[in-house]
């Protein structure tokens, strides 16, 4: 048995099997990519993904937009929203995490317990009262209901992630800084934050991806087409979809996935570590 496992035939057949599965899995994405360069009538007659000629017409049609809104507007809206969310999460969650990891204060155990509980809580429970609240504040149909919660550290998962990371940093650094006359604020800004770079990057990556792909809350809070983000904008293509519209729809779908893909390629190291150590869902 052991001999067989190490034989060349076994190794080769294993590679064939693994790359075969990989190819089948990636084929839908390749097909979408290829189809985005094909004229509409070719898309549903051709099963092989590679286009016979590369045609950018779908991209130009898709880019010119839908219902009078250029696609660039959806992209801009999504970028603004994602940046707001990423900044909010990194700042507010790292602040809370610092308090939990390094400071001693009253009701710490209760607060920590509450924080852990909110990680598990399905957001459906708070959904409707939050909507009522934001409706009273006249925030509906603005980006505030989507961004402000991030500045208030409601994604408790990231607090937990950073608490775990901060606890791994040597406490002697804090003590030395205290002797030198630094208070908690200085220790947080000058010592913890610079050293916590990997945890901050992981938080940024996943906040970005989740905001970029988020559909539920954007669907609930945004109603003006001019305020639509990429996920909402894309769905408009589906509404009007006769087969001739498949091309532009696929082209803009591909475009919408490019930022996620770039983040993934650039930050691959943090992805694998983040998932393997904390079970982050991609």
């Amino acid at each position: 048995m052991i001999g067989q496992r190490n034989s060349t035939a076994w190794v080769v057949s294993k590679h064939v099997l693994i790359s075969g599965i990989a190819f089948v899995m990636l084929y839908p994405i390749l097909w979408m990519l290829g189809s985005s360069f094909k004229p509409g009538h070719m898309i549903f007659t051709e099963t092989w993904f590679w286009p016979q000629e590369w045609n950018w017409q779908n991209y130009m049609n898709g880019w010119s937009g839908i219902q009078g809104n250029p696609f660039s507007r959806f992209l801009t809206n999504s970028v603004i929203l994602s940046l707001g969310a990423v900044l909010g999460n990194v700042i507010s969650c790292s602040m809370a995490a610092y308090a939990f990891a390094r400071l001693n204060f009253r009701f710490k155990a209760i607060c920590f317990g509450l924080m852990l509980m909110t990680i598990m809580l399905p957001h459906h429970v708070t959904l409707i009262p939050q909507y009522i609240l934001f409706n009273h504040l006249e925030w509906v149909n603005t980006y505030l209901p989507l961004v402000v919660p991030k500045w208030l550290a409601t994604d408790a998962f990231f607090i937990f992630l950073m608490v775990q990371f901060f606890r791994g940093l040597p406490k002697e650094l804090d003590e030395a800084a205290t002797i030198d006359g630094c208070g908690p604020v200085k220790i947080y800004t000058k010592i913890i934050i610079p050293l916590a770079f990997p945890a901050l990057v992981t938080t940024m990556i996943f906040t970005f991806l989740w905001t970029w792909d988020d559909f539920f809350s954007q669907l609930i809070y945004l109603s003006d087409v001019s305020k639509y983000t990429v996920p909402l904008g894309l769905r408009l293509f589906l509404d009007s979809s006769s087969q001739s519209d498949w091309g532009p729809m696929f082209a803009m779908s591909v475009l919408s996935l490019v930022p996620c893909f770039i983040v993934f390629i650039v930050c691959q190291k943090y992805f694998v570590e983040g998932i393997a150590t904390s079970g982050l869902k991609g």
Binding site: P28, M95, L127, P231, F237, G282
Partner: protein, 316 residues
């Protein structure tokens, strides 16, 4: 007398000093926790109480809520056929997609584990569906790909099979969403791979020497050692699968159709709350969901005593 007084005083001063040190950072902590505290009070705990209250009322956001007692809850379980349907759809989805996804993730992780060359590349490639799968773009692709004249049926036609429109057929529509979920097994696989790295190779070698075949080694060594990781993956997948929304929404174009065959719990809750503005009913549904997820998670935790083995003999 005096000595005991002195020692008493000393004990007190030590105690107060300790308390002082213990809460040395009350002010700073308040500063650092301020955003989180505001969020906790106004966006989590407050809304939880409000939603519990609203769940006992009739509320359409336009008029003030009117108390109806347990009406919403009893309607759900006695006369709302769509609610029963949404439960059925969600249970089927969870019961099929979670085990299939985990088994697939485990099998592929096994294939990748044994010191294979190009592990990094394979891992990346297998992770791509998870990376992109949650997006509206992929859900739309799925709808087109599994449609009547979509990619899958063109491929099947080449080998002479005439297949139905998977997305428009009530028998298969839910399984097209299950397939989309299983397709995204990448993150579970990465967690399995990390877990397998912890297994000392000596275990495998020793049992091979003792004459255990690969199947026996899998069931008696790999699986038990990996059981905490399987447990973790199972809990995570269970919680997220119960809340699944985007894919069903996009693939059925917001209807939960055909014939309510993809009416996931979250989708029905959304329709009740934001299409029909029955916010009381939707809040009651949210609490039922919390209880459902809680009960299932608890059951998995309880069952873990039977099948999850910890290295230190189960103390943790």
């Amino acid at each position: 007398m005096t000595t005991s007084q002195v020692s008493q005083a000393r004990i007190e001063s030590v105690a107060t000093r300790r308390v002082k040190r213990r809460y040395a950072h009350n002010g700073a902590a308040l500063l650092f926790l301020a955003p989180w505290l505001v969020g906790l009070l106004f966006l989590t705990l407050g809304p939880m109480l409000v939603s519990l209250y609203i769940s006992f009322t009739d509320y359409s956001i336009l008029a003030a809520p009117s108390w109806v007692g347990l009406n919403n809850y009893t309607t759900m379980f006695t006369s709302d056929k769509l609610f029963t349907q949404s439960l059925k759809v969600t249970f089927t989805y969870v019961a099929v997609s979670v085990p299939v996804k985990l088994i697939f993730a485990l099998l592929v992780a096994m294939l990748l584990n044994k010191g294979i060359r190009g592990l990094g590349i394979y891992r990346t490639v297998y992770y791509i569906p998870t990376l992109l799968g949650g997006s509206v773009a992929i859900a739309m692709l799925w709808r087109k790909m599994l449609g009547g004249d979509g990619l899958l049926n063109s491929v099947l036609a080449m080998v002479g099979i005439k297949a139905p429109d998977w997305v428009a057929n009530p028998k298969y529509a839910l399984y097209s969403i299950v397939l989309l979920s299983v397709w995204q097994f990448g993150s579970s696989m990465i967690i399995f791979l990390a877990g397998m790295k912890q297994i000392p190779p000596e275990y495998d070698e020793a049992s091979a020497v003792d004459g255990a075949g690969p199947l026996r080694r899998f069931f008696y060594i790999t699986l038990p050692i990996l059981s905490p990781v399987i447990f973790f993956n199972l809990v995570m997948q269970l919680i997220t699968s119960f809340q699944s929304f985007t894919q069903a929404f996009v693939i059925s174009n917001g209807s939960g159709g055909p014939v309510n065959s993809t009416l996931m719990y979250s989708l029905y809750l959304y329709k009740k709350g934001f299409s029909f503005f029955q916010m009381g009913y939707a809040s009651a549904m949210a609490w039922v969901l919390v209880i459902l997820i809680g009960v299932f998670t608890l059951l998995v935790f309880r069952s873990s005593k039977l099948w999850v083995h910890y290295e230190d003999g189960g103390k943790s």
